[in-house]
Amino acid sequence: MSINEHNMKNSLDENVLKLADGCQVSEEQVGRYMSGLLNERAQYVHADVAQRLSFARNSVVAQHASQQTQAHSIHQSGNVLQWLGDHAGQYFGQHRVMSVAMVAGVMLLTFFTVQQFEFNRNLESSDAFLLASELPPEAYADKGFDTWLVSKRD
């Protein structure tokens, strides 16, 4: 453990920092002092950074303004479908993974539903066949019935 770490550990519980002249300052004072200096420095950014930030801000504000106008016009015209369409479009645009997952989910659900319908339809037709048949249902369940039928015919 270095001396700095040792000193840091010792003074950590006290919530104060000891300076070289024996003076003690609270962590909060030091934190705020450092933040003040950082804030001072943050105001001076490179010109192209400032320009890009300004551009980003203006486009965000323009977008916000158009959203507000849109919301206002929807409110006036009462076109709920348009509003829903816009919002759904925005949602799907932003959450591509979710959208793909949702489409896949819907496809799977459709597949299983069709399968289930098909199974029920087959079951119904086989029931109808058994009921309409002259032979009792046990005859079809008996594995030796076909052999017996053939031997009887011969």
Binding site: N4, E5, N7, M8, S11, L12, N15, L17, L19, A20, D21, C23, V25, E27, E28, Q29, V30, G31, R32, Y33, M34, S35, G36, L37, L38, N39, E40, R41, A42, Q43, V45, V49, A50, R52, L53, S54, A56, R57, N58, V60, V61, Q63, H64, A65, Q67, Q68
Partner: protein
Amino acid sequence: MATNKELSDFLESVERRAFKQTAYAVRDDHAALDIVQDAMMKLAEKYGDKPVEELPMLFQRILQNTMRDFWRRQKVRNLWTTLLSSFGGGHDGEEERDPLETIDIEDDSEEPSARLERSQTIKLIERALEKLPRRQREAFVLRYWEEMDVAETASIMGCSQGSVKTHCSRAVHAMAAELKMHGLEGLGLDKTSLSN
């Protein structure tokens, strides 16, 4: 609901600070700009209808989350880069950057030595902030720089108030230790400003 002017004024008041905070965290100015722009867009898009007094906390929350997303993407990208470079057997040209390796001094002949000393102190603080672990830096920025209280900071960071206090304390002590290591025993503190 925030008006366009209120939103614009708010963004103008935080954009440079947010850029610097992000740049300290991601150490890449271009990525920092993208992150700040992304956070601004999300704020206007999702919370543009919120009152203006709620915007600072919402913006900070979005900014921190956007930074986390950036790191997640970086992690995946780094994984692929490592995998591909191990196949290619290429050399690792990137050297780990030590932010304290070089401390350049602004040349401003008009200013007195006090100004120079202050500038050096700021540079040391900036680099000490960059060196902090992510959670400590987050806590320091939100608590002291953004002047949020412990509860708000805890809410944004998604941790307990006790954790926030611990992170803040460790951050301040670590930064102070860095400053002392570079000869600033008094941390460059202006006693008169502290007494106010």
